[in-house]
């Protein structure tokens, strides 16, 4: 059960008011006619589907009826942030992986930190940069 903060309504609302709408930050090819079948198929159908940090679109269907983005852990279901359309996430898998690495290095003993079996891949920094490039 999610309690979702709508960045437009500026308050937490019940999951039932929302519809999930799939992976966020997928840039439509600028010139669809220039795409080959592989590029177009990749754009239409192929998804990251990460086990771990995921950036996805949601629609506040019974509410303000705006699309927005959620960064969420697909294993623990924890919502890490919500942000408006057109904005970029401040929390990414790379960002969390770096933090975890730093935290591990700070530990003086050599005890291993459990990874929790989570894959820390989402929209990569590089992918986000390329999206930014496409929007600029």
């Amino acid at each position: 059960m999610f309690h979702i903060y709508c960045p437009y309504c500026e308050e937490l609302r019940e999951e039932e008011e929302f519809h999930p709408k799939g992976q966020a930050h997928i840039a439509r090819p600028e010139e669809p006619d220039a795409c080959n079948d592989e590029e177009w198929g990749d754009y239409l159908f192929f998804r990251d589907n990460p086990r771990g940090i995921h950036h996805e679109m949601w629609l506040h269907a019974v509410g303000c009826r705006k699309f927005f983005n959620i960064t969420r852990n697909t294993v623990s279901y924890e919502i890490l942030e919500t942000y408006k359309m057109g904005e970029q996430p401040t929390i990414t898998a790379e960002h969390l992986a770096r933090e975890e690495k730093t935290a591990r290095e700070e530990k003086t003993d050599s005890a291993q930190v459990a990874e929790g079996g989570q894959q820390t891949v989402g929209a990569s920094d590089a992918a986000v940069a390329s999206i930014k490039g496409a929007q600029a």
């Binding site: 308050e11 609302r13 019940e14 008011e17 019974v62 509410g63 303000c64 009826r65 705006k66």
Partner: protein
């Protein structure tokens, strides 16, 4: 740029058909119990329909719409999401629905004049104004158990301390959606779509049974 939108007066005096409220059918089919009629005790929840009000949807930029509305109506757009501005007489209100969308409700016979004046004031601004008066109706819920009836019906927190006066939201109500708002201490307002009005009415009668719910007299004979 000229204002080329043709504005249509839906309440023109020469109309030959009698308008009926979206609940007219429901009153016939499901009845109109008087408050406390069924239980014989005093009623703690009362339904009252305010039919035939003028409902206008305003879309566009907040600044330009706010200026025009202040000029024409004397009240501005609410500054915060999920909030509601009501004029001094309590007859006209404007509610935030979305970052670029507001609901304006005025007495029915003012609708056409207001829309015309708003359009004139806005000139060629990039806005949309739609008269949705015929598509929805306003149901008032009063009485000390009003919020308890709502608690049974919606996932939104309607505790009077959380849902303060001046708040208004779009949310789920039973299996449909409503615009729910609280213009003053004693009243809750539900704005429901015409095609779901019967469903909401019957739901309210059922949910309010334990509070001796009934329909206020004045709403029974109101007509255009």
């Amino acid at each position: 740029m000229s204002n080329s939108v043709h504005v249509y007066d839906a309440r023109a005096d020469h109309a030959t058909v009698t308008a009926e409220s979206p609940l007219a059918y429901s009153y016939q089919r499901s009845g109109m119990p008087a408050p406390g009629e069924a239980s014989g005790e005093e009623s703690c929840a009362v339904i009252g329909e305010r039919a035939f009000l003028g409902h206008l949807i305003l879309r566009g930029g907040a600044i330009v719409l706010d200026e025009a509305l202040r000029e024409v109506l004397g009240i501005g757009l609410p500054g915060r999401p999920n909030s509601l501005n009501v004029d001094a007489e309590g007859q006209r209100s404007v509610q935030w629905l979305s970052p670029d969308e507001w609901l304006l409700i005025v007495p029915g016979d003012e609708t056409f004049g207001l829309e015309t004046r708003l359009r004139a004031q806005l000139g060629g601004a990039h806005v949309a104004i739609v008269d949705v008066s015929a598509g929805q109706t306003l149901i008032e819920l009063t009485g000390e158990a009003a919020h308890e009836v709502l608690m049974k019906s919606t996932v939104y927190d309607v505790d009077p301390h959380a849902f303060t006066v001046g708040k208004g939201v779009t949310t789920l109500f039973a299996k449909t959606s409503v615009i729910l708002r609280r213009p003053d201490e004693s009243r809750w307002e539900l704005i429901v779509r015409r095609s779901f009005a019967d469903y909401v009415y019957r739901w309210l009668l059922d949910a309010g049974e334990e509070y001796g719910i009934g329909v206020a007299r004045e709403s029974r004979h109101e007509s255009q």
